[in-house]
């Protein structure tokens, strides 16, 4: 009898430790799942915002490019303006300085956009 008491206490302690460890692992798994869901939600939300912004013709890069083209077309002859219509698909960044490659592409025929900004 005296030997079984410490043994049972040891079993209880082990069971308690195991249950605490399980609880810890369960909580860790839940946190990881929450973070994964959060990351997916953030990505999907950002994608949706950028998509709608671009599809509605309000993308900052494309709008800036369209405005630049409009300004350029008012200063050129009608035939030059007609040829610049084909450069609608190029983009440039809305912030910071513009790179030479961006301006080169802006004047090349890479059409993908029919912006509603007017």
């Amino acid at each position: 009898m005296s030997a079984s008491a410490p043994t049972s206490r040891r079993h209880e302690a082990k069971a308690l430790a195991a249950s605490r460890r399980d609880a810890l692992l369960r909580r860790a798994r839940r946190i990881r799942r929450t973070v994964a869901a959060l990351a997916a939600t953030l990505f999907a939300t950002a994608f949706l915002i950028v998509y709608v912004q671009l599809a509605s013709g309000h993308d900052p890069a494309l709008v800036a490019n369209a405005a630049k083209r409009r300004a350029a077309s008012t200063n050129t002859t009608e035939s030059e303006a007609a040829s610049s219509d084909s450069s609608a698909g190029a983009r440039q960044s809305s912030s910071g300085s513009e790179s030479s490659s961006a301006s080169e592409e802006a004047s090349s025929g890479n059409s993908a956009v029919t912006t509603s900004q007017s």
């Binding site: 973070v35 994608f47 599809a55 900052p60 809305s94 912030s95 030479s100 993908a112 029919t114």
Partner: protein, 212 residues
């Protein structure tokens, strides 16, 4: 109704899908990394100390999610028909001709975050204290990433983007300043310690008793 539909879909999105994906992944990475920095700084602080194991798991998961988002951010740019960058352009600093400074800043931030983050799994080999000192530079890498997004990001001038970033970045910067202030106080109260000599190293000094 048809006219309304045509007005809404004013831009053909198809050719820009890679670009949109890259932008979305970049935004997600910035938000996740800001949250990760917040949680990391909370771990070292005296706030929420009782929940430290939960914070550690959250910090690790957020960091891994950030790295995944950054990889998507870079790799999807490879498919962009406008920029047409090479693998070197998105992986090696100062190689890209497009906004070289901001792009390089982003690349350096990514490599720094990847190395300082993933080195966690080799911290026993590196030495826990040494790793801890190195890991403090992750906050610097995050600041580089923040500068990259504000300097080069297409949406950097948009109100929704700034609000979204401010929501997570401002608390992180506040916690970082608090930590720097606290470490300065510790440094001035114990100036004889040689291990906390440089100001970069002193950011986020913790008591040895809580070191893992």
């Amino acid at each position: 109704m048809h006219t309304l539909g045509l007005d809404i879909l004013a831009t053909a999105v198809g050719p820009h899908l890679f670009w949109i994906t890259s932008r979305a992944a970049g935004i997600a990475a910035l938000l996740l990394s800001s949250l990760s920095v917040c949680v990391g700084l909370l771990m070292g602080g005296r706030v929420l100390r009782r929940r430290n194991s939960d914070l550690r798991v959250a910090h690790e998961a957020l960091s891994l999610a950030t790295l995944a988002a950054l990889i998507v951010h870079g790799l999807t740019l490879l498919g962009d028909g406008y920029l047409r960058p090479s693998l070197g352009d998105i992986a090696i600093p100062l190689l890209s001709g497009y906004k070289t400074l901001w792009t390089s800043m982003g690349i350096v931030a990514f490599w720094a975050l990847a190395m300082l983050g993933l080195s966690y799994y080799a911290r026993t080999r590196i030495g826990v204290q040494r790793w801890r000192r190195l890991h403090r530079f992750a906050a610097l890498a995050w600041l580089l990433g923040l500068a990259h997004s504000l300097g080069e990001g297409t949406d950097a001038g948009q109100a929704w983007f700034l609000a979204m970033i401010a929501f997570v970045a401002v608390p992180a910067i506040g916690l970082l300043l608090m930590r720097l202030g606290r470490s300065t106080t510790i440094t001035t109260s114990a100036p004889t310690s040689t291990s906390i000599a440089s100001s970069a190293e002193t950011a986020g000094v913790r008591q040895p008793s809580v070191a893992r």
